[in-house]
Amino acid sequence: MRGSKVIVGVFSYMDDLVRAIRKAKKEGLDYRVFSPMAHPVIEENTMPQASSVRLFTLFGGILGCIGGFALAIWCSLDWPLRVSAKAIVSVPAFVVIGYECTILISALATFLGILHFCRLPDILRKVGYDPRFTDDKFGIAVGAEDGKEEAISKILSECGADEVEVREGL
């Protein structure tokens, strides 16, 4: 978030929060919304565009599929086990390996995607956070330059914030 100060508004009601988000957007403020759970209304009003995590999943899957088949094929050619007249590279049998590796690498890549896009781990730095946001309160933290905190606090209060706090530094 931009600015030297953070103004945190704590809300009990989601409709108030949504009003505050819309107002902050309209004013062109730099904000961050906190909620105890995911909710489609918050999502629509904050980040309606699709998440790029899917690219991690896709590339992980492609890599896993190629890797799984390559492993099975290369190992079979490197140490050929000749049984009757069966093919050394037995694709139907290797489908299982390719399939499992696709899922394995894709899932691990998705996990990396979560870490990357959610900016995790970030244990110490919780700008604008309040422990009540994992309980029953919603929050919005707005970054502001010196002198603008009063106007922003007023906007949040007007939208129905239970309390508004101005914090130093980002």
């Binding site: 105890p36 790029s52 492993l71 299982v96 399939y99 499992e100 998705t110 896009f117 309980d135």
Partner: protein, 454 residues
Amino acid sequence: MSETHGDIGLKEGVTYSRVNDLVLNMLKPPTFGWYCLFFLAISAVCWGAASFTRQVLDGMQRAGINQPIAWGVYITNFVFWVGIAHSGTLISAILFLFRAKFRMPIYRLAEAMTVFAVLTAGLFPLIHVGRPWFAYWLLPYPNERALWPNFRSPLLWDVFAVSTYLTVSATFFYVGLIPDIAAARDKAKTFFRKLLYSITSLGWTGNHSQWKHYMSAYLFFAGLATPLVVSVHSVVSWDFAMGNVPGWHATIFPPYFVAGAIFSGVAMVLTLIIPLRKVFGLEELITPFHFEGMVKLILLTSGIVTYSYITEFYIAWFSNNPFERYQFWFRPFGDFKLAFWGMVFCNCVAPLTLWIKKLRRNIGYLFAISLVINVGMWLERFNIIFTSLSREFVPAAWGNYNFSWVETGITVGAFGWFSMFMLLFIKFFPAVAISEIKEIMPPPVREEGALEAH
């Protein structure tokens, strides 16, 4: 179901805050009862470890397996525990994709059960091979002789399938836990707990960007875990079906095994969740609505399993193959007939009583039935493995089998091992999903209908 909250099955009056209190209350210091159970679990683990040590010192003759029954209780236990592991991913992933609301309060425990059951299942092939210190031979690792494993063997497929399943289900489980560990972190009182939850929640704050990417990723995880869960037990079934053994060599095995796995897994979820609900007072979160959902799954999968049993007999008769025909005569009337009829009673007959509303609404009865199904599913694996191996093609090579005390000890130890992890889990991490229950609850609003306008 008038006492519940709309169509989501929670009791009336439950709020976000109440969900936090109820779930995080489970993390309070353990009671005397918990210590007693933990002591029992650890004792069972010690018995299993002692038995395993005896087997390692003396060799495989300590186990009852022999020629022709080279796969015995260890493989039965392996298939049993992999089966138990399945419903966790079914409840968490497949029901997530179907948006089944009854999954919310039960899926975390089901996922924990999955991870710990796979950890238990994974022990058995290692115990069974006799020299577990060479278990790494199963993996394609570079070695001096450039010797690689046989990728055409179903046993190697199993190595890949089960290890993938363990990794993916553990990751999925952990990802689901992150927001709830953050909730536990924010309420933690002691330094140790605060530190533990701060590290394991990775600093989660629940901001809109995190939720957006998280939910998107969660959907992909569910999408990946769904084909995985179907593939893993199919691969386990191919351990048998790829072998030319009467009673094993059947194309029906994959769906039959997957249905059986879900059947036993849901029963195990009931076995775990019913006492937990009582002890921790979770009646407001886990209501008859959720039990109804699980009972429907049990009835469906019990029907599939019963149909598969009948099909096996029909195909044996229809094939006109004398070895198949004899095998399916031997199962109900041969040396292991008690196991067969026990299986039929536990898996086909007893679950039918759940069609009666009064019985399926009786929590005590459900608990009893869940135990009966667990026994039945163990017997099913026993039937498949033992009877087929004891009566293969050449009568001169027929044989029988008796448990040894080492196998009994290791089997009991596995239950202790699984229980030990479950007991530790419910005391250290939220065993019921906090944020996902809140997702299905109507959010608090100042003006009714205000959110619809958005």
